[in-house]
Symmetry: C2
Subunit: 737 residues, 2 copies
């Protein structure tokens, strides 16, 4: 049973499915690493992970995925002298009497309390841990044992090197070192040889009866403890992780120093610092809904999930589609970041949003390589982007459930809108923050290379006197290889506009920079082509009924209801898209597509067009992506129907609380957290219900709260000023903080 | 067991598979109808058919298919007084003692001889039949019975209305009439209500003991015969078929007159006339290979298969892909006619080839409708064309063997080369015959509308400074939706050239006609666009290795061997093409594609390019189409390797003799005869090994016979002069006949 209270989420499940779900639901992290919500005694079968941001490895011919570090917080307890024999005190043992895990998401503290009944004795473990915000390499754990009768226990504490990997193992050349309570593992990734060190330094409140070392499956101390009834025995463990990608010299030395500092400071002090850091985060990032406890908590939990993966510690990092909850989706950065995650940070803490852009600047060469690979110029940003920007996606990304064969999919080569999404996020960053310095730091080069990609991609139809965008896949992935996808064409037009405006902006503010950048990438020859394409690029318009056709020929597809379509499935795991998916020949779409376009370019369309498209597309949308419902919620706010929008907001905000999301695409496991939905929940609440927009540096609010809400309060960071905003049903207040 | 002799093919099989195979192998016909090689007592389970050219019907939501007429040659024999009881004397009865069917393909006469042993008695039936060339509505049968002991027999003779249909029944409103030995059935097709009448008029050499009528499943006479030992009892049956599409007034009256004339003339005289007609056909159409009996017979048999389906009786008819052997492939006309069948007739009997063009002229409006349906102008000729030119092909033309679901295929909407194939055939007709009158009779309009289709279809890439042809499927159907298919682009260029040349030709010969046609279809506005597209249309060139890439990106596909690919199949019936077929991601192709282009435009390419492509593509070709091997054979002759070409010729020429061809595409039965391969065999023999070409009205021969052949003799009809040509290993002779 799981209970929710104001700032925490708890669960007492011990079944395999619950263990996996809690790994995501009770995740802690700090942008450098994510640590799954498993118990301390977890072995690899619990799907534990200390997932590292930006560190990737490929094993053999399998796909590249992020690296999980050896688990420096492993503690396994064993009753060795109980009346009914040896017992491992794990949550899977039959002697378990009670168990609960709690995540305090105000301060990012995971705790557990479990008791085992062994003959007449009860042994209870209480543990809490957090991923330090003060030192992002650091994980801190306090682990206490108390028995109600004297009992002999064995504690196996240290660094577990048997990891849950999808395509692992990734680490090799393991070397162990020990210095008293300090255990370490040094190793390196097998593809690129990136060194990685984990230190696990423990401080005991007791003197063990004996002590030994176990190096069989990791680096462990085996401590014997003759526990006395009613006495608390406590270990504090400080585990630090460094890799060769960190700019701190030798990873092992740095990890030792980090763990040593924390141990010297002590757990209680580190926890106090942690709380201060979180208070500061919430000072900027909290959003408080009044009148609706469920929504308030769900939204705050969503923001927690975003904050624990926000990359603040290094330049040029972004957020993967499943956050730091594991290796699913290859730990890759998708367009989710620019279109669904960035808006929250852009308004609450723009420096984080700027880092997403820095990541795209740093990976521009990968996007250039991808463009060249397909015969284009400019930057074709990856569908699944890792540290180099090369596309981690293959041409066969789904498995056919009927034949077991890889199925040709067109995520990689046909979702050409990603480059426009990247350009959009840069332009939006400048528009909202007023900070155009990013242009000179690579931002303009990115935008121009994206525009150039489309210049090289577009075809002209003399027949129709316009440029068209052919053979693409839009956000609705169920329909592959379509022509003139409305969203894609409109995004490309925006990209061309962004290029023109940013050229002009930098021309005014830093003409030498402009000249240097244009010369560097030889864009002069493309300036005329840019104008020509912008002038004649086709963007589908509303038809007589106000509906914008999603792509050429969409309206000639079978108009099959969702229930009817579901009834056609022969296998619950079969992929609805692809060339022969059951949705492909119908108008059923996976997720918001035209509706997303209407949100992004709302000023271009009158309300009746928005309403016509909302009414048309929503009944035809499966919402098979967590990116979908928030977009419909947003547009419904625009058309004045907040009550209609409200359940869509809730579904989005609760996704990682309930864990009720799609776990499979074809035969591929895609579980994990949903940062884009987390960001989407913020968008629906603040951009949707509060009606926030920033125009020319000015805050615009158009409150349209759902009936259940009395107010929404949040901070806004705008052009280096922090504002406190309170939106109520009938009005709002804004004050400088 | 089946035996082959000079001019005949025989078979004694009585198993179900053999019965189906003999239906095709022993087919007779006359262009108006095809009558399958089943025995006289066949019921629908034998897959008998009297398949009518150009008459189509749709039942319910099923696909349209050609109509089979009620079978007016049905004769069923029954021994009613034999010692061991009643026996139906069919080839499936256990009393069958011997059986043989023979097709004399010199004169198009099918005969059978079967004997049954009933107690001590043997009853023997000898029957022969032919489809009259003098009166194409007419089928003639002589049926003789002889027993070696006195025996009571029952003869059920008449018109069987229980037909083998794929998507039937097609005929309704049946009415019977009888006048002595003349039975008739009148009915109409159920979609369009086309009236259809069959008359079966029989003349008996004996007086039946009794006579009755059976109208249960058709219109039959039941004749009792007390057969005396050693006496022949003979029925001559004259069956005539007319439909409302024939320009002869009331079908029933016309059929009665036709059958009546034949009966008055008598069987022997009709047969003599038939032989004269065939002698005249062979006078023009025979090709005699000396030195290689197997090849000689196989080629003649192939020509027989073409002659029995050649439409000479009416204007505007063509040849379906499975001839008149049944309803497979919807009885539709494919590009097979223009590219594989027309060449034989063009050289032997140009009037027949002209009729194929008349068919395309008559169906131009259907091609215009298809272009409009997909948003284009001009004429987009159908992949599967019936009497209106509308496309009989659906978007779901193959069934997925794993799910049983219809699979989206792109035969219909992406095989855009058909229009160019049609234009090619017109241009080639004019070039070879010198008869440009066809231009004024609709030919120019067809060519211009085809060119206009491509004008509206092509896209310009400013990036590459050229027009491209995007998202098509070429002859190799295993790779759908490709860009810049070399064959397709080259054919389109030819179409544009043909349009320009024919405009200019008619401008010289009949300027008022030209003006009228251009004005009628408003082509003036497209003249500039035609020039522009022709000047900048991209046609892929050979790479450094001399190989022409089949389409953009082909050379990046997996280079998987054919055996390896075969081993990946999970089901022998699974479709290799389509989006997820096992061939789609590899370089394995179904049939000649680039190699076909090199044949058609041989003058553009030096021999080393031809050889490089032959060597490259042949090992990667499945030859999954009967249109494939002859093309490789042709190109191999061009590159001087006749010995290599020889087995490819044989495989092509023997296809309908052996019946060893593909019977299924996915789950769809595609059996029947193979006119395109029949025509391909002629192309390989005469255009390939003899090296025949016509340049500016002059006969060019470049003999390159395979070692087994000493000579090839054939007639050539060129500009109203008949030539006798003899090609020998070292030279040739040509003389006017």
């Amino acid at each position: 049973m799981r209970e929710l209270s104001e700032w925490s989420v708890s669960d007492s499940g011990t079944g395999d499915d619950e263990i996996v779900a809690n790994g995501n639901r009770l995740l802690i992290g700090n942008g450098y690493l994510g640590y799954r919500g498993t118990v301390e005694e977890a072995d690899a079968s619990y799907l534990p992970a200390c997932n590292l941001s930006g560190v990737y490895d490929r094993r053999g011919g399998l796909w590249r995925e992020p690296v999980n570090a050896p688990n420096g917080l492993s503690v396994r307890l064993r009753a060795t002298g109980a009346a009914d024999g040896d017992h491992p005190l794990s949550i899977k043992d039959s002697s378990l009497a009670s168990h609960e895990q709690v995540l305090d998401f105000r301060y990012g503290v995971h705790s557990r309390s479990s008791a085992w009944r062994l003959g007449g004795a009860e042994v209870r473990v209480r543990a809490e841990r957090f991923a330090s915000l003060a030192d992002v390499h650091l994980l801190c754990l306090r682990y206490s044992i108390r028995a109600d009768l004297d009992i002999r226990l064995e504690i196996r504490q240290g660094i577990d090197c048997v990891l849950w990997d999808i395509n692992g193992p990734h680490l090799e050349g393991r070397a162990f070192a020990r210095d008293g309570g300090e255990l370490s593992v040094s190793c390196r990734t097998q593809e690129l040889g990136i060194p990685l060190a984990v230190v696990s330094l423990s401080a005991l409140s007791f003197e063990p009866a004996s002590e030994a070392v176990d190096e069989s499956s990791g680096h462990f101390r085996i401590l014997a403890l003759d526990a006395k009834a009613g006495v608390d025995y406590t270990l504090c463990v400080f585990s630090s992780v460094y890799t060769g990608l960190d700019k701190d010299g030798d990873p092992l030395a740095a990890a030792r120093a980090s763990a040593g500092r924390a141990a010297a400071e002590g757990y209680a002090s580190a926890l106090a610092t942690q709380k201060e850091k979180w208070d500061a985060i919430w000072e900027k990032g909290d959003v408080v809904i009044e009148g609706d406890d469920y929504s308030r908590r769900a939204l705050r939990y969503s923001l927690y999930q975003l904050q624990i993966i926000a990359p603040r510690h290094a330049e040029g990092l972004s957020i993967p589609a499943r956050g730091l909850s594991g290796q699913t989706y290859k730990g890759a950065i998708f367009w989710d970041t620019e279109m669904f995650i960035a808006p929250y940070f852009l308004h609450a803490e723009p420096a984080v949003a700027r880092n997403f852009i820095a990541y795209r600047i740093a990976t521009l060469d990968g996007a250039r390589r991808k463009a060249r690979e397909y015969g284009y110029r400019g930057a074709f940003y990856a569908w699944e982007s890792q540290e180099t920007g090369d596309d981690a996606c293959s041409h066969f990304n789904v498995v056919d459930v009927f034949t077991g064969r890889p199925m040709r999919t067109y995520f990689r080569d046909k979702q050409v809108h990603i480059s426009a999404d990247v350009a959009y996020s840069i332009k939006r960053y400048i528009d909202i923050t007023g900070d155009s310095s990013i242009l000179d730091e690579g931002g303009l080069e990115v935008i121009l290379e994206c525009a150039r990609f489309y210049i090289s991609f577009a075809y002209y139809s003399p027949e129709r006197g316009r440029y068209e965008i052919l053979d693409v896949t839009g956000p609705d992935e169920y329909h592959e290889r379509v022509n003139n996808d409305a969203f894609t064409n409109r995004m490309i037009r925006h990209c061309l506009d962004a290029a023109r405006e940013c050229l002009s902006l930098l021309g005014r503010t830093a003409p030498e920079s402009l000249e240097r950048i244009v010369a560097k990438i030889g864009f002069g020859a493309d300036l005329g082509r840019l104008e020509e394409l912008r002038a004649a690029l086709y963007v589908p318009s509303p038809g007589e009924d106000g509906v914008i056709e999603q792509f050429d020929g969409y309206s000639r597809l079978e108009d099959c209801g969702l229930d009817e379509l579901r009834s056609r499935a022969l296998d619950p795991r079969e992929y609805w898209g692809g060339a022969n998916g059951i949705a492909s020949g119908t108008r059923v779409i996976k997720q918001a597509d035209v509706v997303l376009m209407l949100n992004l370019f709302g000023a271009d369309y009158p309300p009746e067009i928005k309403k016509a498209n909302l009414d048309y597309y929503e009944p035809r949308t499966e919402h098979g992506s967590s990116l979908s419902r928030c977009v419909y919620s947003l547009l419904a706010c625009e058309t004045g129907d907040s009550e209609w929008a409200y359940p869509f907001f809730r579904k989005t905000a609760e996704i990682d609380l309930t864990g009720d999301s799609k776990h499979y695409a074809g035969l591929v496991y895609i579980g994990g957290t949903h940062p884009a939905a987390n960001g989407g929940a913020w968008m629906a609440a603040v951009l949707g219900f509060c009606g926030l927009s920033i125009v020319d540096g000015k805050i615009i609010l158009k409150p349209r709260l759902p009936a259940a809400w009395t107010s929404v309060s949040f901070s806004l960071s705008l052009r280096n000023v922090e504002y406190a905003v309170v939106v109520e049903t009938g009005g709002y207040t804004i004050r400088e903080k």
